[in-house]
């Protein structure tokens, strides 16, 4: 397997041939990942709304509360939504705490109806969507990893020590403080940082912290819950991993749009991609 060589440093012009960059498995799982992620975030916020606070503890403990989103009405009967983040208190009426009820009105709800699945408050349904799409994500993830290992794709995405000196030059290039990106393979060193974090930090964390919330799981594999600091702490980790993944999606979409949107999106449908300058196909 030729991992390092590749048509690097070919100037990108219209004459540049397209390379076959993304396998069918990568492309299909990519779009299904995207759809499942939307459902999981929205149904997850539906579930969060049933008990809208996060404690850094095993059992619920207001003294260890990190986040609380509350809503109600004040003494004059006016709606109020509030967020407590550690010691910080914010009034967030209509945004968080007292929000869109998913049925055309407003009520005391942590996250608004337009961002929960379903829109109205319905924990049982939120759980059904979340647990089903959780399994779908696991199966997609398994297909992605197996295909990635077999096709030697995964090794090109993992950050290696040899990438470290290229991180700063790559960042300077993105900031337009440097003319040329450093020589790199299929993925540039910053992409590798992002993908490696998603695949090997956020993904295991969100799976383990999700399982750790289940009392049946705690009973057959209690170290899972214990290592995260207990059940409520697992809920906090699960939420933080979600924030991390949402952050990744935003950065990802920004770069898709700003680094040749047609070429990028085409590659995720047809697999064909036009290599940029200093861009290769290996590690």
């Amino acid at each position: 397997m030729d991992a390092t060589a590749g048509p690097a440093a070919i100037p990108a012009s219209d004459a540049t041939p397209l390379v076959y960059r993304h396998s069918v498995t990568t492309r299909v799982t990519h779009w299904l990942f995207a759809a499942a992620f939307v459902v999981l975030v929205m149904s997850g916020l539906q579930i969060f709304n049933a008990s809208p606070n996060l404690d850094a503890s095993d059992k619920s403990n207001p003294a260890r509360r990190v986040l609380a989103i509350d809503g109600g009405t004040d003494s004059a009967g006016r709606p109020v939504g509030m967020v407590q983040f550690f010691g910080l208190h914010l009034t967030t009426t209509h945004l968080l705490g007292f929000t869109d009820d998913g049925q055309g009105g407003e009520s005391a709800r942590a996250f608004p109806g337009w961002i929960t699945w379903p829109g109205y408050q319905d924990l049982a349904s939120g759980r059904r969507w979340h647990l089903f799409f959780g399994w779908m994500m696991v199966l997609l993830g398994a297909a992605y990893f197996v295909a990635g290992i077999r096709r030697h794709d995964l090794e090109k995405i993992v950050l290696r020590p040899s990438d470290l000196p290229k991180l700063l030059p790559m960042q300077l290039y993105y900031l337009k403080l440097r003319k040329e990106p450093p020589e790199h393979g299929k993925y540039n060193p910053l992409q590798k940082v992002a993908y490696t974090t998603v695949l090997f930090v956020f993904t295991p964390l969100i799976v383990i912290s999700g399982l750790a919330l289940a009392p049946g799981m705690d009973a057959i594999a209690s170290p899972l819950t214990a290592v995260l600091g207990g059940r409520q702490f697992a809920r906090l980790w699960h939420f933080l991993a979600m924030i991390g993944l949402i952050g990744f999606v935003f950065v990802h979409m920004t770069l898709v749009l700003s680094t040749g949107v047609v070429n990028n999106i085409r590659s995720m449908f047809t697999g064909r991609y036009k290599l940029g300058p200093h861009e290769g196909t290996g590690q």
Binding site: M42, I47, F48, A50, S51, D58, K59, S60, D100, G102, Q103, G104, P112, G113, W114, I115, T116, W117, P118, G119, Y120, D122, L123, A124, S125, R127, R128, W129, L131, F132, G134, W135, L211, L213, A214, P215, G216, M217, D218, A219, I220, A221, S222, T225, A226, G230, R231, Q232, R235
Partner: protein, 242 residues
């Protein structure tokens, strides 16, 4: 100003459309059936055999959170409370070879379980309590479930606001789990009415809604009525290990 109104209106239309889309899919019967397939997978993979973590006495919540239905206020229950549950009887019947009736004193005599465990609510919160009582398996061994019996159905004193009686159920495998108990005490004191007096179920390996309060009858059966419980009939999973 016009532009602002346009932006606000478009945003409202898009956001309402979002809820209409998710609400509509959620109410589709076929979609619901497909989504429910995850429950069987969870039941098969996680199962009911693990042991819930136990805690120290110092970990308990002295003010254990009260949840679920309001404490029954009908004359039958309130007269039982006034009499210190002297007239309370737990019936074990249905598909059993030896139907049983237990007074509270008889249940206390059978009490052999005393553990500090965590109660995990489906809403997301958790509380820790010290529960003492009778392992359910012990009562079932006395009643001897008949051939073909598969479930224990728990009938309870409480009712929803529309009058629907609360009930729950477990299969005989979960019922025989050493931590599945009919609790008589919480934090070394007899259960108070708000926590399910005089007898409540405790299933620490599943979510809190399985731990029915105010139990007065165990019906052994070959099949489940409805979906197997009040909350199950509202759409929650029967297997609540996750």
């Amino acid at each position: 100003m016009k532009r602002r109104l346009f932006v606000a209106t478009s945003a409202a239309v898009v956001l309402t459309g979002c809820s209409n889309f998710t609400n509509g899919l959620n109410e589709n019967a076929t979609v619901r059936r497909v989504l429910s397939s995850a429950e069987g997978l969870n039941h098969a993979l996680i199962g009911t055999h693990g042991m819930a973590k136990t805690y120290r006495d110092s970990d308990v919540d002295r003010q254990f959170r009260v949840n679920g239905f309001d404490t029954p206020s009908d004359s039958h229950y309130t007269s039982l409370v006034r009499a210190g549950f002297a007239g309370y009887k737990l019936v074990v019947d249905g598909a059993v070879d030896r139907p049983q009736v237990f007074t509270l004193a008889e249940l206390h005599a059978l009490s052999s379980y005393n553990e500090v465990t965590r109660h995990d609510c489906v809403e997301g919160w958790s509380a820790i309590g010290k529960w003492a009582g009778v392992p359910l398996g012990k009562l079932l061994a006395l009643a001897q479930p008949a051939h073909g019996a598969r479930y224990v159905i728990f009938h309870c004193f409480d009712r929803a606001s529309d009058g629907t009686a609360y009930y729950e159920s477990l299969d005989l495998v979960q019922a025989a789990h050493p931590q599945t108990v009919l609790a008589l005490q919480l934090n070394d004191k007899p259960l108070d009415p708000d926590h399910g007096a005089p007898v409540r179920l405790r299933v620490p390996t599943q979510l809190g809604y399985k731990s029915a309060k105010w139990v007065y009858r165990l019906e052994i059966a070959a099949a489940l009525p409805g979906k197997g419980g009040y909350w199950e009939d509202q759409g929650y999973e029967w297997y609540a290990g996750i």
